[in-house]
């Protein structure tokens, strides 16, 4: 393979197949599916038989937002860990101090933030 991009051709082909499948089945069910009538009772949001009240999107706890925010930060941390993990063995001989100490302090600094969030009950969903 001369170009790296050509590795992705099969991925692209697979993507086409899966998208084609998804779109195809959806289209097929529209064509082949039973055509029903649209009645009023059928056309209200399902709430176990109650008549729905208020808008469909209720306001949610800010915790969900916090979880997403912390997820971003941890995700970045994990992404930086991968190149380190992959090269760890090779670099042990050459750069012992930085490869061990560098990542240890990286994780340590982030762990402080994690402990702070823990202390502030950011992960406590019981309340």
């Amino acid at each position: 393979m001369q170009s790296q991009l050509s590795q992705y051709l099969p991925v692209l082909m697979f993507l086409m197949v899966t998208i084609g499948f998804a779109v195809g089945t959806l289209a097929f069910s529209v064509i082949a599916g039973k055509v029903g009538r649209r009645t009023r009772t059928k056309d209200i949001p399902y709430e176990c038989g109650m008549v729905p009240e208020g808008p469909g999107n209720a306001r949610l706890s800010v915790k969900f937002f916090l979880v997403a925010l912390l997820f971003v930060l941890f995700d970045i941390e994990v992404v930086f860990m991968y190149p380190w993990a992959v090269t760890y063995k090779e670099l042990l001989a050459k750069h012992f101090a930085s490869v061990v100490g560098g990542m240890l302090s990286f994780m340590g600094i982030l762990f402080v933030g994690y402990l702070y969030a823990l202390k502030k009950k950011a992960f406590d969903w019981k309340s």
């Binding site: 099969p10 089945t25 949610l60």
Partner: protein, 364 residues
């Protein structure tokens, strides 16, 4: 098959890729269909029921012994299910946000299938230039995690598009759950890559090809445990099926869906199970290698046996997924978040540090 050799390498490559894609797709689809059947049969067995044993096309009755036996096994049930999904009324309520309502099922099923693209499902079929993997990417694991993280969109969009309370709650809940466990999952494999030293999944398999004692499940049991539990949470399976927990949220994000659109969510869930099982097989159970280990196959027959080994290991995890579903009760949401954020993340970090320390010690 001789004419293939005279083709241009590019055409050859494309042809092989196309064949592999069609095969993987077909096996995955059949796998999904029969996983549903196995799920129903296993649940029936666990609950002391019979399970699906009726559906059969008319001609089966004319077969002497085999016909009734197959019917009893429910072999034809998935076909009947599929047909029914297609023929049912495809109802789009008027209060939904139309575009998103239609694309959400597709978005939830496409990424689940796409994860299979980097899984090495066999060694070779005799030709060393043609490994049994759709795309042998150097950053295979990153590809998987990237694609898996796209699956969240299907659920969020379904919840948002439905414009109804239960789906909305289910969608938000589910996405928070999935992103929480994605961290634990991502961290647990860091220690695997400390040991292996490569992100390429074929290399991970090659590392474990020495036999059962080389499997990473024994070298990294903690990482395996975290990955396994996170996989349950990522695929929204019981004990973590909070997104659809029927006793609280009716059906979660797919409450308002019907017909084939619902089927695509269903398919996405099972495809995600297959994908997660394939990941676990590749990362921790030696991929396609037999128990006694083995090099890439040099003949067609050995190559096929490797694929069978892979499928057998995959089947083991699928049955595990199903078995756990009928054994364990559902977690509460606070317990779920507690486990993900307060137990697994520190545990994974400790595992990384211990692994790194051990490697450093043995290295010297």
């Amino acid at each position: 098959m001789d004419f293939i050799r005279y083709l241009d390498p590019t055409v050859q490559f494309m042809l092989f890729s196309a064949v592999k894609i069609v095969l993987v797709f077909a096996v995955a689809m059949t796998g999904v269909a029969y996983a549903v059947l196995v799920e129903r049969k296993v649940s029936a067995w666990i609950q002391d029921r019979v399970g699906p044993n009726r559906a059969a096309p008319f001609f089966v009755h004319y077969l002497p012994v085999v016909g009734p036996f197959l019917t009893k096994l429910g072999i034809f049930q998935p076909m009947a299910d599929g047909l029914k999904f297609i023929l049912k009324e495809d109802f789009t309520p008027s209060y939904v946000r139309k575009i998103y309502f239609w694309i959400a099922p597709a978005i939830s099923c496409v990424p689940a299938l796409m994860t299979l693209a980097v899984i090495p499902f066999g060694s070779t079929l005799g030709n060393a230039n043609n490994p049994m993997v759709i795309a042998d990417l150097n950053v295979g694991i990153l590809y998987t995690f990237g694609i898996v993280s796209l699956g969240v969109y299907g659920i969020v969009l379904a919840g948002y598009a439905s414009n109804s309370k239960y789906p909305f709650l289910g969608g938000i809940r589910s996405s928070a759950q999935m992103i929480s466990y994605e961290i634990a999952m991502g961290m647990s494999v860091v220690s695997v890559f400390l040991v292996v030293g490569d992100l390429n999944l074929s290399k991970v398999v090659a590392y474990q090809s020495g036999g059962i004692h080389e499997w990473l499940i024994f070298k990294q049991p903690l990482a395996f445990f975290i990955f396994l539990v996170s996989a349950f949470a990522e695929t929204n399976r019981l004990p973590f099926d909070l997104p659809e927990s029927e006793t609280e949220l009716v059906g979660g994000y797919h409450t308002e869906y019907s017909s084939m659109k619902f089927a695509l969510f269903f398919l996405g869930e099972y495809a995600a199970m297959i994908g997660a099982s394939a990941m676990m097989v590749t990362l921790f159970l030696g991929g396609w290698t037999p128990i006694w280990g083995g090099a890439p196959a040099s003949s067609l027959l050995v190559g096929l046996s490797h694929i069978v080994w892979f499928l057998a290991k995959l089947g083991f995890f699928m049955v595990l997924f199903i078995w756990v579903r009928w054994m364990l009760p559902r977690f509460r949401y606070d317990q779920l978040m507690n486990l993900g954020w307060r137990r697994f993340i520190p545990l994974a970090l400790v595992n990384i540090i211990i692994t790194a320390g051990l490697i450093a010690l043995t290295h010297k």
